[in-house]
């Protein structure tokens, strides 16, 4: 599926190249449909220029060296993070990936390059919802509790800086993250205020959810509402997508990555908005499936895998993939995350936990935290009505809201890149 999506998306993404170069003075974003913006992102002709190659090292952080990793994860051995470094003394910025994303996902690589060009060392960390993180760096191995995840992230950051002490010269520390990594950045900053180990100078939250629970509910629904009959009827949907691709392939007589080709594919696909919504929903469901399986195995099973079994490299995981893909993040919240949080705090209610997983929970701090800024889009699809107003209300002039861009669809737009760099370089927003 993903390959089909990626093919279509990559194809469609090239259509922008016919539109000529972009005048830098105003914010012009080509998509008014936020789903299109989210999936396709900024077309190449509109993108900011970034260096192609940067000096880079992989740092393998072993947070729990004595932890025994189950055999089914035979390929896991520590949490890899990537360091992009300057050859001189410079500030270091940590970047936290979005849901399910690795340190080297395309958005992370883009941010690395942007910050490298702006003169920073950059340390990229996979999302606490990514299996590498759950298995190697999470203390509870039950991701989703923002306060717990932030502690884990902070621990990784401190260990990584310790490892880098003799390799690079650092002046100050900065922090950013997008999507789930955005809201986590706020929570990590809260911990830093107490512990003072890194003393972040400035922190930027890029397209964070206001309430994690509400955003994941929206994303869960995108799949169920846009694949007719839901995941149990996935075959019909996939057959339809394949049929369309096959027709195009036959009609054109060849297949290639070119603007012209893409334009035809793009024009041809009939239910485009539903398709885009379904793609976003599927991509999110895959991320949450991966996360839930990793969490369940690490905690001994009982949720989507049997309790007290031993799996190894040869074990067929398809039945668990089938169950995981039929488990929403909201299911996970009610059936796994909440019961887990309640173990430590028996009086906790679901609503209290939902409230704890939001910017609202930190509002008093966020109101006066001058070092924290927000970058968001008016049409971000993970937000509910009133969320943008809330962000403006809490952050005031520290909130930069673009009219278009969907969810993280404009992160490599030159205007947005310029804002991000200015935010960190000027010491004020």
């Amino acid at each position: 599926m993903r390959v089909v999506g990626i093919i279509l998306i990559t194809l469609i993404a090239f259509t922008g190249s016919a539109k000529g170069t972009y005048a830098a003075s105003t914010y012009i974003f080509p998509f008014s449909n936020p789903y299109e913006a989210t999936v396709i992102e900024t077309p190449p002709a509109f993108q900011a220029e970034i260096p192609k190659r940067v000096p880079q090292k992989i740092i393998n952080v072993k947070v729990f060296p004595t932890r025994i990793i189950p055999k089914v994860f035979w390929y896991e051995n520590g949490l890899p993070c990537s360091l992009v470094y300057q050859d001189h003394k410079a500030p270091l910025i940590f970047i936290i990936a979005g849901t399910g994303a690795r340190y080297d996902s395309p958005k992370m690589v883009n941010l690395q390059h942007v910050f490298y060009r702006a003169g920073f060392h950059v340390l990229s960390i996979s999302s606490p919802t990514h299996m590498d993180f759950i298995i190697n760096a999470s203390s509870s191995m039950v991701p989703g509790d923002l306060a717990e995840d932030a502690k884990d992230l902070y621990r990784v950051m401190c260990l990584a800086t310790e490892k880098l002490r003799n390799k690079i010269a650092v002046t100050d520390y900065y922090l950013t993250g997008y999507s789930l990594g955005g809201i986590q950045s706020a929570f990590v900053t809260g911990i830093d205020e107490e512990q003072q180990s890194l003393q972040f100078k400035k922190v930027l939250l890029i397209n964070p959810p206001v309430s994690l629970y509400r955003s994941v509910s929206i994303l869960d629904r995108l799949l169920d509402e846009n694949i007719p009959g839901g995941i149990n009827n996935f075959k019909a949907w996939l057959d339809d997508v394949m049929q369309n691709l096959s027709d195009i392939y036959k009609e054109m007589g060849y297949f290639e990555f070119s603007g012209e080709y893409i334009y035809k594919v793009h024009k041809r696909y009939p239910k485009r908005e539903h398709f885009l919504r379904a793609i976003i929903g599927l991509s999110f469901r895959m991320s949450s499936s991966n996360m839930i399986f990793a969490a369940d195995i690490m905690n001994g099973g009982g949720y989507i895998t049997p309790k007290n079994v031993e799996m190894n490299y040869a074990t067929a995981l398809t039945p668990y993939a089938m169950v995981a893909s039929r488990t929403t993040f909201v299911d996970y919240f009610h059936q796994y995350l909440f019961p887990h949080a309640r173990l430590e705090n028996p009086t906790l209610t679901e609503n209290q936990l939902i409230d704890r997983l939001s910017l609202n929970h930190m509002e008093t701090y966020l109101r006066q935290a001058d070092k924290i800024g927000v970058l968001h889009n008016q049409d971000d699809i993970i937000l509910d009505e009133g969320d943008i107003a809330y962000i403006r209300h809490v952050f005031g002039p520290r909130a930069q809201i673009y009219p278009r861009g969907g969810h993280c669809g404009n992160m490599n737009h030159p205007e947005v890149v310029r804002f991000i760099i200015n935010f960190f370089n000027t010491g004020e927003d």
Binding site: K235, Y254, N290, N308, T315
Partner: protein
């Protein structure tokens, strides 16, 4: 691809491996303490329907073992060689090599276009072969694509599929990666015709054909961006299996 000598030693090894390893258990090891999960397959999956993720894979235990072998082979042998290749050669030279390799393998495209009775595909492939070998100086450049003659990729697996052969059991081949019974026979058929009647047979020089085998393998790995276990999914095996199967269906339906 595989030259004559390698090919004859190769296929029996695969078949032997298949027989030997097919017995690996794919079920998790249970004990008296095993308890069923809260969310159960039987309750969540609609079993009246077919599901794209559940692909016919009777040799899954063997396949997963080979998948793991390929991970290590890639990590400790293949990728270091590819990285050295990348480091030593300028991009420009690498592109020339890619063009050259593609041009040599046009032989298989040609043969399989003919076998499928695709006149247009045959015409285009023949023209490409001639143009790229002459104007493109022995295939180092690929002017034909620029003139609107796009590659018409066909292999023997596609030919078998074209005449109605289903994929058969899914297979992970050592080093070569995902395949199925039909496409494995396809690879063998292509290799045999390539070695018996194709460019290798014309050259009649073992050293030359061996170095071509080496260079083309490295070139192909170099162009393939896939890296094992960087997908962030514990279900990577399932994902690769689905993508491979769908991709082949698409190529055959063309």
């Amino acid at each position: 691809m595989i030259d004559r000598v390698a090919f004859t030693t190769w296929l029996p090894m695969i078949l032997f491996g298949l027989v030997l390893l097919a017995g690996c258990s794919t079920l998790p090891r249970t004990s008296v303490e095993t308890e069923p999960p809260l969310r159960k397959y039987d309750e969540l999956v609609d079993q009246r329907k077919t599901h794209p993720l559940e692909i016919y894979d009777p040799l899954e235990g063997f396949n997963r073992g080979t998948y793991r072998f390929n991970y290590y082979f890639d990590k400790y042998i293949f990728l270091p060689v590819v990285n050295a290749y990348d480091f030593v050669l300028p991009d420009y030279v690498e592109d020339r090599i890619s063009c050259f390799v593609d041009n040599v393998f046009e032989f298989n495209n040609l043969l399989n276009n003919i076998l499928q009775g695709k006149l247009q595909g045959t015409g285009i492939t023949l023209s490409r072969l001639i143009i790229n070998s002459t104007v493109g100086i022995g295939g180092l450049w690929n002017p034909a694509t620029g003139w609107g003659m796009h590659e018409q990729p066909e292999d023997f697996g596609q030919t078998l599929g074209y005449y109605g052969a289903g994929g058969g059991p899914y297979l992970i081949l050592p080093i070569l990666g995902p395949s199925n019974l039909r496409d494995t026979i396809g690879i063998a058929g292509d290799a045999a015709s390539f070695a018996g009647a194709g460019p290798v047979a014309w050259v009649e020089n073992n050293a030359a054909s061996r170095s071509f085998t080496g260079v083309s393998s490295v070139d192909r790995r170099h162009r393939q961006s896939f890296r094992y276990y960087q997908s962030g999914s514990p279900f990577e095996y399932e994902m690769v299996r689905l993508i491979y199967t769908k991709k082949r269906e698409l190529e055959i339906s063309r």
